[in-house]
C-alpha cells in the first residue's frame, strides 16, 4: 500500500470518530480541522507510528487528545480561556427532525460545554465511541479508576443539568 493510500485508508476509517472527539473537546470547528490536519501531517511524516499500535482507533484518539491538550496549553499561555470557548461552541450533533429532540440536543451541547474538558473527553469516548473504561484509560493514558470516576462525575452533572428537559420529553 502506497503512503497516500495508507493515509486515505486511515482517514476513511477513523476521521469521523476523531472529528467528533476533537469537536467535543475543543468545541470549535476551526480548531478541530487544524488538529485533524496536524495529526495527519504527523502520520504522513512518520508512517510507522501506527505499526506498533494494538488498536489503531485508540492510538489515534490518544494522538488527537495530546494535540488538543497542547493546543489548550498554548491557548492558556496566550490568555484565552478555554472554558469560555467551550461555552461558545458549535454543536457536535447532527440536526434532529423533531423539535423536542432538537431542543434536547441543544441543551446537551450546552451541558457538555460546562464540563471540564477531561470529563467531556471521557464521557464522549464512553457514550459515542462505545469504548470500555480500560480502552479509554489506554487511549488517554490514565488509570482506569480515574476514567470511571470522571465518567461518573460527568454523567451526574449532565443528568442534573438536563433533568427537567429529559423528564418533559421522555
Amino acid at each position: 500500500m502506497s503512503p497516500s493510500d495508507f493515509l486515505a485508508r486511515v482517514y476513511d476509517d477513523h476521521a469521523h470518530a476523531l472529528f467528533g472527539f476533537l469537536l467535543n473537546f475543543t468545541r470549535a470547528e476551526t480548531d478541530t480541522k487544524d488538529l485533524l490536519q496536524e495529526l495527519f501531517v504527523k502520520l504522513a511524516k512518520q508512517p510507522g507510528l501506527l505499526e506498533a499500535a494494538r488498536d489503531e482507533r485508540a492510538y489515534l484518539i490518544r494522538l488527537a487528545h495530546n494535540l488538543a491538550v497542547d493546543l489548550m496549553r498554548r491557548r492558556a499561555t496566550r490568555g484565552k480561556n478555554y472554558e469560555q470557548l467551550a461555552a461558545e461552541s458549535a454543536s457536535i450533533f447532527a440536526p434532529a427532525v423533531e423539535p423536542d429532540e432538537q431542543a434536547f440536543r441543544q441543551a446537551l451541547v450546552a451541558a457538555l460545554g460546562e464540563l471540564p474538558p477531561e470529563q467531556r473527553a471521557v464521557v464522549h469516548l464512553k457514550l459515542w465511541e462505545g469504548l470500555t473504561f480500560e480502552a479509554i484509560a489506554d487511549a488517554l493514558d490514565l488509570p482506569p479508576n480515574t476514567v470511571a470516576s470522571r465518567y461518573r462525575y460527568g454523567i451526574d452533572k449532565l443528568r442534573r443539568r438536563l433533568r427537567l428537559l429529559y423528564e418533559e420529553i421522555k
Binding site: S4, F19, L23, V41, S91, G130
Partner: protein
C-alpha cells in the same frame, strides 16, 4: 430518572458527520508535508557530479589519491635538478669546496708551463747493444 435510560438516550444522539470537503484538504496537506520532508532528506538533482561518482565513490577517491601521490613524487624528484640548473639556488658547502679546489688546481696548472715529461718506458734493446763485459783471464 433511570440512569440507564438517561445514558441510553445520550448514546442515541447522532453525531455530526465530518465535512466532506475536509478530506481532500487534510490529505493534500499531509501529502505536501511528506513530500517536503522527503525533498529535504534526498539529495538535489543539481549535484550532477555526485550522480557521476555514485557508482563507486571509493574507486574515484583511490584514483584521485594515486594521482596526488604521482604529482608529489614528481615534484620531489625534479627538485635537485632544478637546484643544479638555477645559478641563484643555494649550493651545498661540499660542492662549493670541491669546485674551489678544482679551480685552484686549474690555476696552478696554467701558471707553471714546465712540462713534466712522463718517464720513458724501459724497453730492452737487442743483445749486440748490450754493454760488453771484459773478462780478464
Amino acid at each position: 430518572m433511570n440512569p440507564d435510560d438517561f445514558e441510553k438516550r445520550l448514546e442515541h444522539q447522532r453525531l455530526r458527520p465530518i465535512p466532506g470537503a475536509w478530506r481532500g484538504e487534510i490529505l493534500d496537506a499531509a501529502r505536501r508535508a511528506r513530500d517536503h520532508q522527503l525533498s529535504t532528506i534526498t539529495p538535489q538533482p543539481t549535484c550532477g557530479w555526485r550522480e557521476f561518482l555514485w557508482p563507486c565513490p571509493q574507486a574515484w577517491a583511490g584514483l584521485a589519491a594515486v594521482w596526488v601521490l604521482i604529482l608529489l613524487l614528481n615534484s620531489v624528484t625534479r627538485e635537485p635538478a632544478r637546484a643544479a640548473q638555477s645559478p641563484n639556488s643555494p649550493r651545498a658547502p661540499e660542492v662549493l669546496m670541491a669546485l674551489r679546489d678544482h679551480r685552484r688546481l686549474l690555476a696552478e696548472l696554467i701558471e707553471s708551463p714546465t712540462e713534466v715529461e712522463p718517464p720513458k718506458p724501459s724497453v730492452p734493446g737487442p743483445h749486440s747493444q748490450l754493454p760488453q763485459r771484459t773478462v780478464a783471464v
